[in-house]
């Protein structure tokens, strides 16, 4: 009977002030969507780092006037280096072929560059791509080396872009969360006011504190959970219409977002949505009901 009482009170409470309830649920939903999105970006950046770093190469470009001896000596040194897992030599013709392939859509650029203008190079795969700096320091001043270029520098810039996007989403999530929590606090105050007679009687006859608070706290939790369902719906729509359709051309660039990962954000959103709503309601009641 007590469970039935609490649950019916929750429904009555949500329905009593239905416009406020809807506002509360929508703000919670938007906030949780932002949170879920930033969570997804976070895991994607981690995935992509792994993906890219596996294939990352350090290029050691050689001077045009390098001697045979210097080239052979450098090659041997690189082969022997414990930080390097694989060494590939790219001569001028190969470099030109690669260049042609890379810029086959820009004939102007292709015609401007001649085969012997591109430097020969050693392409290195590293045992640990993060140790690029050590390699760079060791070989930048070696005889015959023009410069050492690491692709991870370029990648870092891309990742910084993603991290910035994640931070924006997080900031939006926090701002919306503040608005949502104020709405939760307000809804709970209105609910507590409209039930002030019941609450006064309950306090008088010695109903336990949890029993007095439970309907209000559960009301907030239910709103938080509905908000997280909205958030899940929004993320599903984002993946379907933005990521899979509109941005499908860029799919080679991004690590793919699977349905499983989208669904996995739900426990995160539901947990955080439910928990912070409950805590807000409880704190509001502490101040407002003094129970």
């Amino acid at each position: 009977m007590r469970m039935k009482y609490v649950l019916s009170e929750v429904l009555v409470g949500l329905w009593r002030n239905v416009t406020m309830t809807i506002a509360m649920i929508i703000t919670l939903g938007v906030s949780l969507t932002m949170l879920g999105a930033s969570g997804l970006i976070y895991t994607k950046v981690a995935d992509m780092k792994e993906l890219y770093f596996e294939n990352i190469q350090v290029s050691v470009f050689l001077k045009t006037d390098i001697s045979e001896e210097e080239r052979a000596e450098l090659g041997a040194r690189l082969e022997a280096d414990p930080l390097v897992s694989q060494v590939t030599y790219v001569n001028k013709e190969e470099a030109f072929q690669r260049f042609q392939e890379m810029f086959r859509d820009s004939p102007d650029l292709l015609s401007a560059v001649k085969a012997d203008q591109l430097p020969e190079s050693y392409r290195l795969n590293l045992v640990n791509p993060e140790e690029y700096k050590t390699i760079s320091e060791q070989y930048a001043s070696a005889a015959g080396v023009d410069q050492v270029v690491d692709q991870s520098q370029v990648l870092d810039k891309i990742f910084n872009l993603f991290t910035a996007g994640q931070n924006v989403a997080l900031a939006a999530a926090v701002a919306m969360a503040v608005a949502a929590l104020l709405l939760v606090a307000n809804t709970i105050q209105v609910a507590a006011y409209s039930k002030r007679r019941e609450v006064a009687v309950m306090k008088l006859v010695g109903a336990s504190n949890w029993f007095i608070q439970a309907p209000f706290v559960l009301e907030a939790v239910v709103a938080g959970l509905i908000g997280s369902v909205l958030g899940l719906g929004a993320l599903i729509a984002l993946k379907k219409f933005l990521f899979d359709d509109a941005l499908s051309a860029l799919q080679g660039l991004f690590a793919p977002v699977s349905w499983g990962e989208v669904l996995l954000t739900f426990p995160l959103m539901a947990g955080i949505g439910g928990l912070i709503s409950a805590v807000t309601a409880w704190v509001t009641l502490r101040f407002y009901l003094r129970v």
């Binding site: 009482y5 009687v201 006859v205 336990s208």
Partner: protein, 226 residues
């Protein structure tokens, strides 16, 4: 049953104490009137017995429990041994007489089956047999106060606190309510009543404690309003 030992209570921002070094001892089964002008500190005593306010100095013991040092989470359980009646009845307007009394039982964890057995019994006791399913607005003031007494008594408390229970009632109805409180007192329940009503005090001839400016000025075993 109830002991106040050198109790002093000064509310924040108040210039003088509401209760000033008050000591009272009330035995089990007594019927006690607290009288005195408004603002004399009578209601503060009721609030103290309910653990709604705690004294600045001194000790308050109710039912053998030291209320002064009681933690607030123990308050709900403590309140179940105390019944309370107020001037403004404090009934729930959207519930019938039966439901008002049953509500008090159900929110402290009693089952509906217990309520079905006990509530009609106590409504009969307060003289509301046959009016169980009326709403407060369908009852007279005296009848509403009877519902409130039934609610306060349904849990068979050891103490019944009444804060000006006849303040909103006409003299005849007031006397009926007093008869009811007297009947409850005869079951062994300690009754503490705060009142301005000199008629009632003079008719009942029970212990009278008069308070003025936070001090006890009179404590008479079979007193009159004076």
């Amino acid at each position: 049953m109830i002991q106040l030992e050198q109790v002093t209570k000064t509310y924040p921002k108040a210039s003088r104490p509401s209760l000033d070094n008050v000591s009272v001892s009330i035995d089990k089964g007594e019927f006690v009137f607290f009288i005195g002008p408004s603002g004399s500190g009578k209601s503060t005593i009721i609030k103290m017995l309910l653990h709604e306010v705690t004294p600045n100095k001194g000790r308050v013991v109710v039912n053998g429990k030291d209320v002064t040092s009681m933690r607030s989470w123990k308050r709900p359980h403590f309140r179940r041994s105390i019944g309370c009646v107020f001037q403004d009845f404090r009934l729930l307007p959207n519930r019938t007489a039966y439901e008002n009394v049953a509500f008090a039982l159900e929110v402290i964890g009693k089952t509906k089956a217990v309520a079905r057995r006990v509530v009609p019994e106590v409504l009969e006791l307060v003289g509301l047999g046959g009016k169980e399913h009326r709403y407060p607005h369908e009852l007279s003031g005296g009848e509403q106060q009877r519902v409130a007494v039934a609610r306060a008594f349904v849990n068979r408390p050891l103490i019944l606190l009444a804060d000006e229970p006849t303040g909103n009632l006409d003299p005849d109805t007031s006397i009926e309510i007093m008869r009811l409180l007297d009947r409850i007192n005869r079951t062994g329940t300690t009754v503490v009543m705060v009142t301005h009503d000199s008629n009632i005090v003079n008719q009942m001839r029970r212990r009278v404690i008069e308070i003025e400016s936070g001090r006890i000025v009179r404590d008479q075993a079979r007193g009159v309003y004076g």
